[in-house]
């Protein structure tokens, strides 16, 4: 006993309807996924590339760049705290302090082993409108952690946070990834 023509037509219509439903669901899921990835690209940091001169060398984990000016007392305290941790929790990182111009560097003339620079190109790459600022830069030239340091910032907590940011930086072999949001 075969299937009658009408039944075959009805079954065919149902099959097409089910296929259309699955196809629509697939397109909808794909759209949601695209929205999510687009939002990540739009939100995330615009790809600002730090110059090669500031990036860490292959044997270092990350660069910790301090944007300072010569006068503020917070800058002095920050420098002292970073220096104290240079061989401790921040070992393996490249430490550098940056000034807007030579006058700033000279007025902050302290005896320190940390690299210093008054180059205006490096300054514009790192300065974000406030001194002192501490930035952690990875091998790809991306700023992975940026913190403004205020007079009432707890420097011990700051050094701990910076140390954990340095340890979470991807090692040198990683290629350029798309910027993603940090989830805390």
């Amino acid at each position: 006993m075969g299937i009658s023509g009408t039944t075959a037509l009805a079954l065919g219509a149902i099959a097409i309807a089910v296929f259309a439903l699955i196809a629509t669901a697939g397109v909808y899921l794909r759209l949601k996924e695209m929205e999510r990835s687009l939002a990540d690209v739009v939100f995330g940091q615009p790809a600002q590339s730090i110059p090669e001169r500031l990036r860490p060398r292959p044997d270092q984990t990350a660069t910790i760049a301090l944007a300072l000016d010569g006068q503020c007392p917070t800058c002095h305290r920050l420098l002292g705290a970073v220096e104290a941790a240079a061989h401790g929790s921040l070992a393996g990182a490249r430490l550098i302090r940056l000034y807007a111009n030579k006058t700033g560097l000279q007025s902050h003339d302290v005896d320190t082993s940390i690299e210093s620079s008054a180059d205006s190109d490096l300054w514009t790459a790192v300065y974000e409108g406030y001194t002192p600022t501490l930035s952690v830069i990875d091998h790809a030239g991306r700023v992975v952690h940026r913190q403004f340091v205020y007079p009432d910032t707890d420097l011990d907590t700051l050094i701990t946070d910076v140390a954990s940011a340095v340890h979470s930086v991807a090692p040198h072999s990683a290629g350029a990834d798309t910027p993603t949001a940090k989830e805390a």
Partner: protein, 246 residues
Amino acid sequence: MVRRLAPDGSQLTIDVPDTLGDLEWFGVNRFAGPRLNRDFYVAAVGQEKVIPTKLLPGASKRVFSRKGYDVVLYEAADRSDSVLLWVGPHHTATTWFGGPAPRPDVLSKLIALVQFSDSPEGATVKPTSTTLVEQHGIQVIGRNDEVAITVSPAAAATLPEWKGLASNGREVWREQLNTGEEVDTSEPYAWRYRIANTTAVVDVTFFSGPPTAAEAARAGFRAADVATQESNVTAVVDGLQATWGR
């Protein structure tokens, strides 16, 4: 002479009498556009720390770092409220959603619509497209324990129909404060004072007593006696000058 930057980029110069002491400054800007009604509040950086500790304890936090500021999204643990912040080095701008955080694409549209820039004198929160979005209700607010000063541009303010007291190139009105309880109207602090000149309108409200018993117990707070009230009010009515410029 205090210089502040209003949230729409206007420059405010205000001469606050010294007897009032130091003020903390805030800003308000409101956007109105197609399917958009959003209020932005600007405060000094550090004020936003109250969000994860007191207002939305246990909230989830997403941080998007930009050059010069961070965009932070807090969502309450039970998703009853959420807030989007632009945290700059000097100031923070916030907008509240009153519900769960919007979808990522809606959020990215909102962030793309807002142009945030910070400076020690104030933060500007402007729409990136002035054809689509209108700003209105812009205010700069200075307050401390004794006084709250609200400044708005003259073009936006509604003034009483009757003539006020003319003094030093400004016009001054007063309005009885409606605190919902019995106040002695002979006290100068029982009134709100509105001072208008050609560019700015300033509303000054004095606090004649601490709002709660707990604050009354706080050391150093004394309700001002009538003589002090009179001298403060006279200093304001005679001497408060504000200029709202481009």
